[in-house]
């Protein structure tokens, strides 16, 4: 290595921050050991750098600096979290307000009554519920009056009658209704019942007694309005309207 190269590399051969390749460092060290001029230059540079470097680093650090820095960082974190909380809180409140607003709007919005649809529903034929009634009375071995139009059945329940539980069927046609109580020979004297059947004329609510067409031990007490019982029948009057 010549002196010119050595002086170029001197700057890069600092003890704590050398930027020389290992081979260059070794070649420079060899040259500095052998060349009195470059060696002296190196020693002078190191002496000056050490002297100024010590002075440069001789800075008094104020007491409590570390604690004040940490305190400042903690305050910044607290402030950041408070701001974030405020932002999140505002966002959540805004979201809640939107949800409430939408809900109120939805609740306040009532659909317009569609008369065409309502009319179509009213005119739709009701289903025949005779099988449903048969299943309901199946366990008791009973059956409803076969001549009734079961599409007009509106209710089906047990009724209490003279300490007996009687199946009751309710039929409706317009404003008129008929309630049919099913009675059997084991519960009542059916012959006497026939004998005391009330006169059906001239009363708003009438009571009639029907016999089962094929089962002599079963009868029906029918309480009805409208003056004409067959209006609730299917087979005698044709399909109800």
């Amino acid at each position: 290595m010549d002196c010119r190269t050595a002086r170029l590399l001197l700057d890069f051969a600092r003890p704590l921050a050398t930027e020389l390749e290992e081979s260059d460092g070794e070649a420079l060290a060899t040259h500095l050991a052998e060349c009195p001029t470059c060696g002296a230059l190196r020693r002078t540079e190191r002496r000056l750098d050490d002297h100024l470097g010590r002075a440069m680093l001789a800075v008094l650090v104020p007491d409590g600096l570390r604690e004040r820095v940490l305190g400042k960082l903690a305050a910044q974190r607290d402030s950041w979290y408070r701001r974030r909380l405020l932002i999140w809180g505002t966002g959540a409140a805004a979201a809640a307000a939107i949800v409430v607003g939408l809900s109120l709007t939805f609740l306040a919005h009532k659909p317009v009554l569609d008369m065409v649809t309502a009319r179509a529903i009213a005119n739709r034929p009701l289903p025949d519920r005779s099988e449903e009634v048969g299943a309901w009375f199946g366990d008791a071995g009973l059956e409803g009056p076969p001549q009734f139009e079961y599409a007009r059945l509106t209710n089906c329940e047990w009724a209490s009658f003279q300490d007996h539980r009687l199946p009751m069927l309710e039929f409706r046609k317009g404003n008129e209704w008929a309630r049919v109580y099913i009675v059997t020979e084991g519960q009542f004297d059916l012959k006497a019942l026939k004998a005391t059947q009330p006169d059906a004329s001239g009363r708003a609510v009438m009571i009639d007694v029907l016999e089962h067409p094929t089962k002599p031990g079963v009868a029906y007490i029918v309480k009805y309005t409208g003056g004409v019982l067959p209006a609730f029948f299917y087979r005698d009057t044709g399909p109800a309207t």
């Binding site: 921050a17 002297h51 100024l52 002075a55 800075v59 570390r66 820095v69 400042k72 950041w80």
Partner: protein, 181 residues
Amino acid sequence: MGLPGSQRSVQQLVEEFYLPLYRYAYRLAGSSGDAEDLTQEAFCKAQLQMTQLRDPKRAKAWLFSILRNAYLHRARSQRLHRQVPLDSVGDLPEPLPDPLPEVEPERLQQALNELDEVFRTPVILYYFEDFSYRDIAEQMDLPIGTVMSRLARAKAYLRTRLLQPGVEALAEGPRRANDGL
């Protein structure tokens, strides 16, 4: 802006680097008050920008860079320092006095204050010793050759100013940052 730095990681940075960072700030700004403000500001910015530190080995250079930017931001608005032209800096007399004269802290800081920041920063970082030319060049976003040139001029100025008897400040009043280049 988020707060991605965990309390623990930021505290580790403080424990490890608050002393060199304060010294660097003091040499840059020239007063203990400004140095402490800059140190706190640098750590606060670091806490907010922690995700930018991808390589923990670069933490020191990263913090120094943050602090220098904070200093430059202040300096731009204050324009307090006088800068000297470095054209007139001569060589040191041979041989050097033995022993070398004691460098008084106030004179050293005064001499640093007289330097433009573009000369002051590389010479301070150089004397912190563990910053390579490459590190200094990255911090200042300059080519290594430019850094070395400025460093040589700044070192010569300090040596002349501090080690040559009877040499006082070469400052002639407020100067532009590129005077003397």
